[in-house]
Symmetry: C2
Subunit: 450 residues, 2 copies
């Protein structure tokens, strides 16, 4: 993609309304634009990251056996009356009347609708288990939207719903999502810890939040050092097999947000293993049994011929919020430092002198070779000053930058900068493409968590 054909409205000044790094950089790098409080347009650079996050989420959902559908954004109120939530849900629910005066709402979540969909068709335990998910825009009318996409009103979420004939099977579904989430976030280059969440009146140990470790995170988390960098399931992991070992491996060491912090249990963690860090919630998985299937009469026949309400769980990932979390976890003062798997482009190719024929020729050839190998290139082909180009590239946060100018070319060299470390090296023009393709592929391979 040539920058001259792209649409990248960067800002030089820090927007006053942005108090945290991710919000600031997303506005400044032209990734998003605010259209109303907590409502954003996703500009091309931001949308590319959003789509890559979606893709990873989707791949890991499918690997775990979940099947994708798509529920609409607008829901009829009737369903919510069945569960009792239409009146119970607070002013965060955006309530709407259509032209016929019917009560509708912009879905803040989808338990009711998915239960309705499944009860219409699933009548026997033989049709179970089922895990269905969708990735859809939701709306929660927050009283004080803030921190950009971290707490927006219109936001993109992945939610999965599991349906089983017994609590034992529901536990298996829960563990599948638990394992899938470990892979999902790690593939984005995030260090994420599952921590116990508050099960509320339902009780039990089957509810976890997945928290990204980030210096400026919103909540305090307390964890055992052994959870950092812990192995996660590989790509050949058998989701049909016994998932108890991986679950207990991850949950037997202490991890809690301040809300669930237990001083007694914390006291038993050896001092040298105690870590107290900040975190951002990016996922939440929850086994809630028959909370919706009971009032909504979503029932199946068991093998014994008994009719029972289905056992359900729900599993959310804040897809748009993840952009914020990623930047909070990976940035410096100049901008984000995107992990290659979610970077809007893999490489920024900076032409220092567009008017110079040789420089532009080398750039165009390099662009073509890289793109032919599946590498995504943002080619900086504008006539702006070098300083502007460098600042903009750092602000975009692409993992690698290649700088090509007439002076270097005289020596047969161009410059490669690794955004993550800031490291710069000269490399020969001759085999530059091969060298860079290998670099990018290695980085992507690392994040594929084979």
């Amino acid at each position: 993609m040539r920058l001259s054909s792209f649409y990248l409205p960067t800002l030089k000044e820090n927007p006053v309304e942005a108090t945290i790094a991710s919000h600031r950089f997303m506005l400044r790098a032209g990734m998003i634009r605010q259209e109303a409080a907590g409502i954003y347009a996703w500009l091309p650079l931001g949308l590319r990251v959003l789509r890559k996050i979606e893709k990873i989420v989707r791949e890991e959902q499918e690997r775990a056996g979940a099947v994708e559908l798509l529920m609409p954004t607008i829901q009829p109120a009737d369903l919510w009356s069945e569960s009792g939530r239409f009146d119970a849900y607070g002013p965060e629910m955006l309530r709407i009347q259509d032209r016929g005066g019917r009560d509708m709402l912009y879905g803040p979540t989808n338990e009711e609708m998915i239960t309705d969909i499944v009860r219409a068709n699933v009548k026997s335990y033989k049709q179970l288990p089922k895990m269905l998910y969708h990735i859809q825009w939701k709306f929660r009318d927050e009283v004080r939207p803030r921190f950009g996409v971290m707490r927006g009103r219109e936001f993109l979420m992945k939610d999965t719903y599991s349906f089983d004939a017994s609590p034992e099977d529901a536990r298996k579904s829960y563990l599948k999502m638990f394992a899938a989430y470990l892979r999902t976030f790690r593939r984005m280059g995030l260090e994420t810890i599952p921590v116990k969440a508050d099960p509320g009146p339902i009780g039990g140990d089957l509810t976890h939040e997945f928290v990204v470790l980030a210096e400026n995170g919103e909540s305090d988390i307390y964890l055992h050092r052994g959870l950092i960098g812990k192995d996660i399931p590989g790509s050949d992991f058998d989701f049909q097999g016994n998932l108890e070992p991986i679950f207990s491996d991850w949950t037997s060491l202490y991890a809690a947000t301040d809300e669930m912090h237990d001083e007694a249990a914390w006291g038993e963690v050896p001092d040298e293993d105690k870590l107290s860090l900040r975190g951002i919630e990016v996922g939440h998985i929850f086994y809630f049994g028959t909370k919706y299937s009971e009032p909504m009469r979503a029932r199946v026949q068991t093998a014994e011929g008994k009719e029972v309400p289905m056992e359900m769980g729900s599993y959310g990932i804040g897809v748009s919020r993840l952009l914020g979390a990623l930047i909070e976890a990976h940035h410096d003062e100049d901008g984000p430092k995107w992990p290659a798997s979610v970077a809007p482009f893999h490489i920024g190719l900076v032409n220092l002198k567009v008017a110079d024929e040789e420089t532009s020729k080398v750039c165009a050839e390099l662009e073509a070779s890289l793109e032919a190998a599946g590498i995504e290139v943002l080619y900086e082909d504008t006539t702006d000053r070098a300083g502007e180009k460098f600042a903009r590239m750092d602000l975009c946060g692409l993992p690698f930058q290649i700088v090509v100018g007439p002076r270097g070319l005289k020596e047969g060299e161009l410059e490669l900068k690794i955004r993550k470390t800031g490291e710069k090296t000269s490399i020969p023009v001759d085999n530059a493409a091969t060298h860079i393709i290998k670099l990018v592929q290695e980085e992507l391979q690392l994040l594929a968590i084979a």
Copy 2:
């Protein structure tokens, strides 16, 4: 994908509310489920087709030089007051008040918002031309939603907006979209004709509807036979080159819907070239000049230093509606007949006797070989009766069916059925995979319009 793991709630009976084939089959094949009048959940089979249509639309937009962004579904009313449309738009607009009492709306279209986005950043002719598009859910509160996804309330649309510094440049942008649309629909296996649309008070010849020819189409169209099967731009077509020839090639022959039908001009078409057919509108492209940029003060400096409002056009494709149009154009009494490029799966693999070890072994091997070659397989691995399996496969409308049973295997054979023609042939098991992979790839290649 194994049917036992998929979610495919097919219906045996014809739903009474469905009066046209596409609506009927989409409900019966478990592609969609109505959640409220004109509001549908996209079940897994339907969603797969929707995503394939989206992908083709996206690829052709990018090829023509359009850049993707994503505007939110909920918009503030202010912008629409600037253009004067907040009051002018009828009850089709879903108006909403948020918890703070602010007027909002669910976007029925995005001219105002995109104009606002572009005016914030584009100040000079040097930054133009720009073509920006998004694929997003829209809402129009139709008084009588009907025909399933053909006239729904919540629907998925691709809309592109072009911004230019002069009417001459705007014409170039228009022609790019014109050419892109020819490729887009043909790649889906649709015979589509651009017909003159009503330019309204703006006048000129730069507005066309793209109409799919389908027996049960909603409107009458009159066209010159020469337009049928006419060549379209190949994949090496130069969108930066002179587009006038392709435009005049397609627009010099008579084509009009009944609204724009001109008896005098029609009289000049030789009788043997006159075709009167039915059609379904799936796209609309429109040059509207400064209709929005003028009141919204979206201006640029020209090369001569003059400040002028930008020249704009908008270009829509009814993405979710296309599923209906595709079925109307391609079906028989048993179900849809999907073109391979948009089929939910390429192949239905029917195991006639799951309990038979050899049959299941052959099926599993075939499934693995096909999937390894990138062929999408829906493996019918249920214990249902053969008759049910066949009917369901026809209802799903996958381009190819492979039927494997113990009797055929004894002869070393399996059966291949081509859904489009109904043709059945026996093929040897031994090189079945190779044979089928070739068949599917040829079909896909044909639709890639190289």
